[in-house]
């Protein structure tokens, strides 16, 4: 008790507080007669949009209380196109949630990949019997209609990723259409101007062209025709871009042919990593000689270098695969080495091929039930127990078979 306040002040203060509250409005909500505005994400009940459900069973498996019951059957869907493959599809027969077990953790809603489960703010579903709390699909579907729209985002918040994507896509399409329309209009105008103006496609997304330069020829012509300087410049610019694009496209077509061929030859070109940052000097010189700007030439040369290098590496890899040189592909070998070390089997060490880089998993091997007798015997001799030896031997056999297959391919 502070020395300043006489004894009993605290007691009176307490009485003062309570009596002050006696005359405040009670904050009671007279529930059955009036209802509160529930928060948009109220966890009232779990609703089901059964048309979204694919019977993936994720919800039922994740449910900590095991209170979700799902039954389904498979149906064959006829092929969409003539000669296509018939598909099977899961059809939901029963989806029930036992709300006497449910603890409203919301994991099922969280985990549903197809937005079939939702939180509904509906909460008046009490029952006189516990059995009555087991609600079937129909009831859950009814609740799905009560799910409110999500609350609006805060000002300045980023839109959800999928929405942003959709907007971007729509925007792009719109721009493309505009550009096309502009091009057409330009073409018509050009016709009227007797080949004067060049169509503008400045905003075309690809191929990218360095803007800022003008087509001197067009410019001169336009000036001679008596156009204003500004107009002439912009038209010349557009003409330059157009020309450049046409040229690039032609180039790309030519290169594309090569690339397609190369891709056909190589199973997985993406696997080959090439150190970037170097340029193909030959390409560079040539482009400079052609009168390209320094930057453009450098970029093209770089791309050419990468392309060449990839091709070279692939050729090399194939060559090495035939030779059985394990050290050829560093990253692939490293992962394989660790596997071997843990195996403890000497056998597999010889099997560290470059083909590992091309993913042994890509190669299908049939007959997984067989074992490599040699590895098996060796492991048993080393004192491993029967089960481990068997599984390792099996793995060794599969690896061997894969190796053989890859070798054959390489030979071919």
């Amino acid at each position: 008790m502070a020395a300043t306040s006489p004894p009993g002040t605290g007691l009176l203060k307490g009485l003062g507080v309570t009596v002050k509250h006696l005359f405040r409005r009670p904050s009671t909500l007279m529930y059955p007669y009036e209802r509160d505005d529930l928060a948009p994400r109220t966890r009232g009940v779990i609703a089901l949009m059964d048309e979204n459900c694919t019977v993936c069973m994720l919800c039922a498996r994740e449910c900590p209380d095991w209170c979700i019951y799902i039954e389904s059957h498979k149906e064959t869907v006829p092929p969409a196109k003539e000669g296509g493959r018939a598909r099977t599809r899961n059809v939901l027969d029963r989806f029930a949630i036992d709300f006497s077990l449910c603890m409203y953790c919301g994991i099922c809603v969280e985990v549903c990949p197809f937005d079939a489960l939702w939180w509904s703010p509906e909460f008046e579903y009490s029952e006189y019997n516990m059995e009555g709390l087991l609600h079937e699909m129909e009831k859950l579907r009814e609740w799905a209609d009560t799910v409110p729209a999500p609350p609006p985002l805060d000002d300045g918040a980023q839109p959800p990723a999928e929405v942003a994507d959709a907007i971007e896509k729509a925007e792009k399409e719109r721009e493309l259409a505009e550009a096309k329309a502009a091009e057409q209009a330009q073409a018509e105008e050009q016709g009227a101007d007797a080949g004067g103006g060049a169509p503008a496609a400045a905003k075309a997304a690809e191929p990218k062209v360095e803007a800022g330069q003008i087509d001197q020829e067009t410019y001169d012509q336009l000036i001679a025709e008596g156009k204003s300087e500004r107009m002439a410049r912009s038209k010349a610019k557009a003409a330059y871009v157009k020309k450049e694009k046409a040229r690039l496209k032609a180039e790309a077509d030519a290169a594309g042919g090569d690339e397609a061929a190369e891709q056909a030859a190589a199973p997985k070109p993406a696997e080959v990593h090439v150190e970037a940052g170097q340029i193909d000097q030959e390409t560079y010189d040539q482009l400079i000689a052609e009168g390209k700007t320094e930057r453009m030439a450098r970029a093209k040369a770089k791309a050419a270098y990468v392309k060449k290098e990839k091709a070279r590496l692939r050729a090399e890899a194939e060559g090495q695969a035939e030779g059985g040189d394990a050290a050829a592909s560093a990253d692939a070998a490293a992962s394989d080495d660790s596997e071997q070390a843990s195996d403890g089997g000497a056998q597999a060490a010889a099997d560290a091929p470059a083909q590992e880089a091309r993913k042994l998993g890509d190669v299908q091997v049939e007959g997984a039930g067989e074992i490599d007798q040699e590895v098996y015997d060796q492991l048993i001799a080393e004192g491993k127990n029967e089960r481990i030896a068997r599984s390792k031997a099996k793995a060794a056999w599969v690896k061997k078979r894969k190796q053989e297959q890859l070798d054959q391919e390489g030979d071919a």
Binding site: L15, T18, V19, L22, F23, R25, P26, T28, M30
Partner: protein
């Protein structure tokens, strides 16, 4: 029987109860019994309703709203519910003691109502030892609490019973001393006599008529605090101590027996408040020195017309409910004391203070 004895044995002209105005012996007795029972069963419910509502409003709630108009029949509904509930007796409990304990607590609380004057002539009995009788009856209630606490065969109940025993015996002392002080000042132990003496009491010969609460404000405070402790009302509810002892001596009680304990508590609230009204607040007087309208014939206290009687009863009950409100207010405002603080407050503060108060009043009485 007691009435006849006291009337036969005392020579002082006692004020007569309204019910003695009827002829014969049986009819007045029946009427008195009905009156006492009605007061015992109705007033605690009114007090309980007041507590529900006041507590609710102080906590930003509404209190009961559904049962009856404005929820006024909530406690009646509670009572019906308690009667319907299964009457459980723990298998390890001492069946007989467990069963009769609530009755042992309830009956003395009911007997107190016998002597409380609710208005001019509105009492069952006015005898010479009224105050002493009320205090003696209140003191017996402890026994029921101790019995219930022990018989439940439950450690929480036992500790609750023990706490109740220690608390009730301790706080009886300042309560009785404060009451005795009033009796000394009034010169009588009769409750009606005390009311009467307050109507004529003059403050130190100045001619100003006051109630005893003014010269004895310390005694009133002691009596009020001790009464709350006697009733185990918060902040003195350690015997129940629901955060530590489950529900103290009532832990094992359900149904009608539990209701009996609760009725004891609420009836105790009413009877203690009524005693305070009689001892300190001038009984059924409207204001100090103002004769009750309709009672002019009897000096503003007795021989009232029916309206005067009704007004007197209304005033008494209003005063009782005001005190009940104070108790509820204290309950909402203050947290529960610790057990040692409780005993400390009693033995180191209230008992010395009440003794000093008694000494001062006695000396003043002799001097003036």
């Amino acid at each position: 029987m007691m009435a006849s004895l006291t009337h036969a044995t005392t020579t002082v002209a006692q004020t007569v109860s309204l019910f003695d105005g009827f002829d014969g012996f049986v009819l007045p007795v029946i009427l008195k019994l009905v009156f006492v029972l009605a007061a015992f069963f109705v007033l605690p419910l009114v007090g309980g309703y007041l507590e529900h509502k006041v507590m609710g409003r102080m906590q930003h709630r509404r209190g009961p709203v559904e049962a009856g108009p404005f929820g006024s029949l909530q406690l009646v509904a509670d009572g019906i519910k308690f009667i319907q509930k299964e009457d459980l007796i723990p298998s390890a409990a001492d069946r007989w003691v467990f069963a009769i304990a609530p009755g042992v607590a309830l009956v003395p609380a009911m007997l107190v109502f016998l002597v409380i004057p609710f208005g001019p002539g509105v009492f069952a009995l006015d005898f010479e030892l009224g105050l002493f009788y009320a205090l003696a009856a209140i003191s017996v209630s402890v026994l029921g609490v101790l019995m219930g606490g022990w018989a439940s065969a439950n450690k929480f109940s036992l500790i609750g019973g023990l706490r109740a025993g220690a608390q009730l015996v301790a706080y009886e002392l300042p309560l009785i001393i404060a009451a005795i002080t009033v009796a000394v000042q009034a010169g009588t132990l009769s409750l009606v006599g005390i009311v009467e003496s307050q109507a004529t009491f003059q403050l130190f010969g100045t001619g100003i008529n006051v109630w005893f609460v003014f010269p004895q404000i310390v005694g009133f405070a002691i009596f009020f605090v001790a009464a709350m402790a006697e009733l185990s009302r918060p902040p003195f509810d350690m015997p129940i101590g629901d955060s530590e002892l489950v529900f103290g001596y009532m832990t094992e009680y359900t149904g009608i027996k539990y209701a009996m304990y609760m009725l004891t508590e609420y009836a105790g609230m009413i009877s203690m408040s009524a005693l305070m009204v009689v001892l300190y607040l001038g009984g059924w007087q409207l204001l100090p020195g103002v004769p009750l309208p309709g009672c002019e014939a009897g000096g503003g206290l007795f021989d009232c017309s029916p309206t005067g009687i009704a007004l007197g009863v209304a005033i008494t009950i209003a005063k009782i409910m005001a005190l009940v409100f104070l108790m509820v207010w204290a309950r909402v405002a203050y947290p529960r004391l610790r057990e040692d603080q409780l005993q400390r407050v009693c033995w180191l503060v209230l008992v010395p203070l009440s003794l000093a108060n008694l000494a001062v009043v006695t000396i003043a009485k002799v001097v003036f």
